[in-house]
């Protein structure tokens, strides 16, 4: 599974993306965040403002409770500020 980070999440984790295989019990986007937080202090810092983080599963907006089972790509980013 490809995990992507954008904007300040990318700065905290120190990477734009990583390929990971989460444990089988990590079935939702929210559980994935819990799992990622333990990877490094940078990951923990990236997800500190957890309520403001947006999630996309396979390039579609998703909620923390949505399933990531079978997903190819999960992205985490701040609220968008384009236009």
């Amino acid at each position: 599974m490809k995990i992507l980070y954008f904007a300040w999440l990318r700065q905290h984790t120190g990477m734009a993306e990583e390929i990971l295989e989460p444990a089988p019990q990590v079935a939702t986007a929210g559980a994935l965040i819990d799992w990622l937080i333990d990877r490094s202090p940078g990951h923990a810092a990236a997800f500190e403002q957890r309520s403001s983080i947006r999630i996309a599963i396979d390039q579609a907006f998703a909620d923390p409770g949505d399933s990531i089972v079978g997903a190819a790509e999960v992205a985490f980013f701040p609220p968008v500020t384009g236009g």
Binding site: L4, F6, Q59, A75, P78, G82, G83
Partner: protein, 155 residues
């Protein structure tokens, strides 16, 4: 598909000419150009020296295409174009272009505003501003959410 995500600049006149060329059914063209500005709306904030727009390649194109598809179900559009740039911009540089074509003005005006409100809140772009004392990520604005929400209200 009339959605483009690109580093290069754009020319409103050239794009409009291309969209209207050979057509006799277009009665209205509405357009919006978003431009990088020096002034920051936050009180007491420093002038912006430059701004970098980061985006999510792939998802950006999907969300802009979804915006266009949504607009086409709401208004009788003859054509429309969305161009959004990424990269580093100086004050005065054009960032985003929306052009809508219809037989009558109201559909063109409304669809243009709708598309801008939609992409402001749904397209995965992030602004990073440079000022004399450092750089910061621009925070999302509640006013943008409110502007987008008006299109989902029931009549």
């Amino acid at each position: 598909m009339t959605v483009r995500v690109q580093a290069e600049s754009f020319d409103l006149g050239a794009e409009t000419d291309r969209l209207t060329a050979g057509r006799r059914d277009v009665g209205a063209v509405a357009s919006f150009v978003g431009i990088a500005r020096e002034t920051n709306p936050d009180e007491g904030a420093e002038p912006v020296i430059a701004m970098t727009l980061e985006h999510y390649p792939g998802m950006t194109e999907r969300m802009l295409a979804a915006a266009e598809a949504d607009a086409r179900t709401r208004w009788p559009l003859l054509d429309c174009l969305i161009v959004h740039r990424y990269g580093r911009f100086l004050p005065g540089d054009p960032i985003v272009l929306v052009v809508t074509l219809s037989s009558h003005r109201q559909a063109a005006f409304d669809a243009c505003a709708f598309l801008m409100d939609y992409l402001k809140t749904q397209a995965p772009f992030w602004k990073h501003e440079e000022t004399a004392s450092g750089a910061r990520w621009v925070a999302a604005r509640a006013t943008d959410d409110a502007a987008a929400a008006r299109w989902t209200k029931k009549d």
